[in-house]
Amino acid sequence: MPTRPLPPDVLRPRCDLSAMGFTTTAELSGTSDVLGQDRAFEAIEFGIGMRERGYNVFVLGPTSAGRHRHVLRLVEARAAGERAPSDWVYVHNFDQSHRPRVIELPCRMGTRLKRDVAQLIEDLRTGIPAIFESDDYRNRRQLIDQEFRERHDAALQQVEQEAATRQIALVRTPNGLALAPRRGQEIITPEEFQRLPEEERKRIEGDLEELQRRLQESLRHMPQWDKERRERIRGLNREVTKYAVTYQIMALRASHMEFADVVSYLDSVEADIIEHSAPMFLESEAEGPAAALQAMLGRHGGEEGGRARHLQFRRYEVNLLVDNQHLKGAPVVHEDNPTVPNLVGRAEHQAELGALLTDFTLLRSGALHRANGGYLILDAEKLLMQPYSWEQLKRTLFAREIRIEAPMQGYFATVTLEPEPIALDAKIILVGDRRTYYLLAQLDPEFENLFKVAADFEDELPRDSATVERYAGLIASLATNAKVRPVERAAVERLIEESSRAAGDAERLTARIGQVRDLLLEANHLAGLAKRDTVAAEDVRKAVELRIRRADRIRERSLEQIHRGTVLIDTDGAKVGTINGLSVMQVGGFAFGRPTRITARVRLGRGEVVDIEREVDLGGPTHSKGVLILSSYLGARYAPDRPLSLRASLVFEQSYGGVDGDSASSTELYAILSALADVPIRQGIAVTGSVNQNGEVQAIGGVNEKIEGFFDVCRQRGLTGAQGVMVPEANVKHLMLREDIVEAGRAGRFSIYPVVNIDQGIEILTGKPAGERGADGRFSEGTINRLVEDRLIALAEARRHFAEPGDGARP
């Protein structure tokens, strides 16, 4: 029984929502923007609920499926019921300044500590100078200075007085102290000295030598006395500073008594202030006359002194790295730019006198810090794109602690900060596509240990009546959330049909809700241009049309090449060994089909089908597989008991970009059969479908695009009614064709033929019966199969003839 074209209704199954009884989506109470993702949601719930190590979650699935949105919603719902985590502060490490100390505090206590310490610093900034400027301090300081000055003077005075009694002057020179004989107040001249009696000269020289020795002795004590004086002053400074500091710190310590780390830190602050703060508030350690000039030149005091004091006190500040005081529950952080610094924090630097300096106050938190005690959502592809980020994240998860370090830290021998690490307890949720997930699982052995939960979002949903109704509700939700016009029922139906089209299956709906939302927004825009209050079906249709229009420049060029005869495609008449195959091109997000002429030539050979594409490395492995299947089919079907003695060559004419896939294998077989039988094939029928060894035609992908591609060529030349496309019957359920094709089908001007096997197909293409084997084991006379078989027998005979000794091989 000849195969009949598909009825128009099958070409694009309509969506009918009349049973829902609504006019526009304004009447629908759509509350959900998700459908059919139960498995993924369960996985996410499971993953974020498991607190054990390694149970981080990888959310995989198609883009536009709302993965981020749904993950965020689920995680936020869970986090809201959890307690806000600790605050974290960094403080100066007084023992190892390059290793800032970290302190964990209950939520909100970090802010309190920071505020209290800031107040302490402010109080000390005014309190300590006041003490150093007090009369008491000055008096005690002067007493010390005076004591040592007198000790110093006394030592020299003894020498000076002794020198004076011997008429010797003690004079300060640029290099030290000199002893010279004098007469009265004047230094004696050389002439006067020479005029002295020799005995007197010798006495003077003896006195000079002795006084020099005593002077040396006196001066040798000076460094020790200076050291002693400095010690005494330091002791005094410590004493008065302690007086200023102890009470203040005591009060602060009492208010943070329950936090041992804070108390320890405050102890260190107290000790450090007592030890080091005094010099900041003294004009200069020497406080000598030169200090005035130095002050005038700006070397001490003034702004510089203030800055020095500011820097000195900065070491007592509290760097509140993580402040959770405003959190209502556990934190949920979505880091959109997961660089290493953005993940694990960084130490910022300040330029000072041409150098870049840093300290613990310049430590900044990363997303892991902020998500600690909660959840961190990252985009897997962005994470992998950032240098070192993936490795750093893994290292952090394995170590369960966050270390602030530069990406290249360790490669340069520069002194930098090594802050104490912070214990990490956060759930990491990566969102990525399937390919990324499978690549990581395959290539990174650590991946499965760290991301034990995969939440796989569905691509498609079944298009049953219940789902369709919920889908309509979902569209209503999208409309509400996007604040677009109410969507008319017909437009909703149209959107659902487009959803099926996006899924490439009349029995499925796409789960990429983002695509539906985009189409809705575009339709709403057009409704606005048309000054409509609602989104109509026409708006959706036009939005689809414009979307294609925006993307189909290359498709148009392709059609143009065929129309102008540059690419040879016949759409009427019949030819032996020539057939129109169909292929799909993907350009960005737009796919379209186009016909390709496939030709076959046969001659005597050793039973091989030569794939010319493969011979020149333009054919992929799947295509080659399809071609090899043809040899098997031909041998088994037509020459089961004799050698298959043909050499068939197959060519994708004017194809220069490579061919893969087996969707043209049935097409190629038809061409070979036509060539063997010497029966022409209708050029108005394009063919797609793969074939197995038994001659059964199997489903292929992109059926809609392929049909539309050939339709467009035919329409351009004028539809004759004899044109159409032959598709595997298994693909009928995938048909969601354009409206114009449905209309052409309804008008009998274009036909879609479903076929189950090669015999059905060859009959459509040649108009001749395929033929069955009769009782004699031969195909019926006049059938295609008989013609093929006869030709193969003839070729086998010819081969045998050539193979006989002395026949044909003789010179």
């Binding site: 000055r149 110093h152 003077d153 020299l156 005075q157 000076e160 003690l170 004079v171 300060r172 020179t173 640029p174 290099n175 030290g176 102290l177 000199a178 002893l179 010279a180 004989p181 004047e186 230094i187 004696i188 001249t189 050389p190 000295f193 000269r201 003077i204 020289e205 000079l208 030598e209 006084l211 020099q212 002077l215 040396q216 002795e217 001066l219 040798r220 000076m222 000598g288 006359p289 030169a290 200090a291 005035a292 000039l293 002050a295 005038m296 030149l297 700006g298």
Partner: protein, 286 residues
């Protein structure tokens, strides 16, 4: 009437390599800036050092306590040139920071003689009051002592407090005793007060009420039109103690007095300088 800037057109500061010189330089620069006058640095190469360099038997000990070779003329000159260079650069820096006109001179001789010689053709000479001797740091220096014995012109015996006085303001106390130097002392004190806090305390050592009124009127006439807050105080008693007490009790930060003031009585100016721990400006009109 004396107008600001007319009594002083040039401030000369005596310098050597001591830290006290730095303080004097700072004070001099500050004063010159306030008065908008030229600043002159005079670096004095002490002749005594060259006397020592002539003697072969001289013994020297470095500041570290080690014996060092006796200085010769060449090494003394080299050292002094280096010190003068440092002081010159310091003066230049300070002057430029105050946008002052400035010059730098060197002179070799007895420090006191060079200062007195300069005082005769300078409006105001500043030298460190506590120019150091080998010992007795902080007490009156030998040079200051000699200069105080026969002052000439206007000589400000500076000490580190002067910088603070100029920086923070504070009253200037002037002794107006009716002597020959008193009017110029009053004019200079008024100039300095006008450049500073604007507060001037006039100490009048009067024998009786009539005398006090007379000095009061004279001083008032001299200061007529000046934007100053002037306070008249009677100085009871005489001698250094009376002056020191009066200065301190009126919170004076700088004392201005004429050379040979009868208020000093039998005591010398050096005694006053020794006992008053504040800068003192001595004016000798002759």
């Amino acid at each position: 009437m004396t107008e600001l800037g007319r009594t002083i057109e040039r401030v000369l500061v005596a310098l050597d390599a001591s830290t006290e010189s730095h303080a004097a330089l700072a004070a001099a620069a500050n004063l010159a800036a306030r008065l908008h006058v030229q600043l002159v640095g005079l670096f004095i190469e002490d002749a005594k050092l060259f006397d020592i360099a002539q003697l072969s038997m001289v013994r020297q000990v470095s500041f570290t306590g080690e014996p060092s070779p006796a200085p010769d003329v060449e090494s003394i000159e080299r050292s002094l040139r280096a010190q003068a260079g440092v002081m010159r650069r310091t003066l230049e820096t300070v002057a430029q920071s105050h946008h002052l006109s400035w010059s730098f001179q060197t002179a070799r001789g007895r420090a006191s003689a060079e200062i007195l010689a300069s005082a005769s053709h300078s409006d105001l000479v500043i030298l460190g009051k506590t120019t150091p001797s080998v010992t007795r740091r902080g007490s009156l220096g030998a040079t200051a002592r000699v200069v105080a014995e026969r002052p000439r012109g206007a000589i400000l015996f500076s000490d580190p407090r002067l910088q603070r006085v100029l920086g923070e303001g504070g009253a200037i106390v002037v002794v107006f005793d009716g002597s020959a130097n008193a009017p110029r002392a009053l004019a200079l004190a008024a100039d300095l007060a006008q450049a500073g806090s604007g507060e001037l305390i006039i100490l009048t050592p009067a024998k009786d009420e009539h005398d006090a009124q007379r000095l009061h009127d004279e001083a008032g006439a001299s200061l007529s039109g000046r934007p100053l807050r002037v306070y008249h105080r009677i100085c009871t008693g005489a001698g250094c103690t009376a002056l020191v007490n009066a200065t301190l009790s009126h919170q004076g930060n700088l004392l201005v007095i004429g050379a040979g003031s009868p208020v000093l009585g039998a005591e010398s100016l050096a005694d006053l300088l020794e006992r008053l721990h504040s800068p003192v400006l001595v004016v000798d009109q002759a």
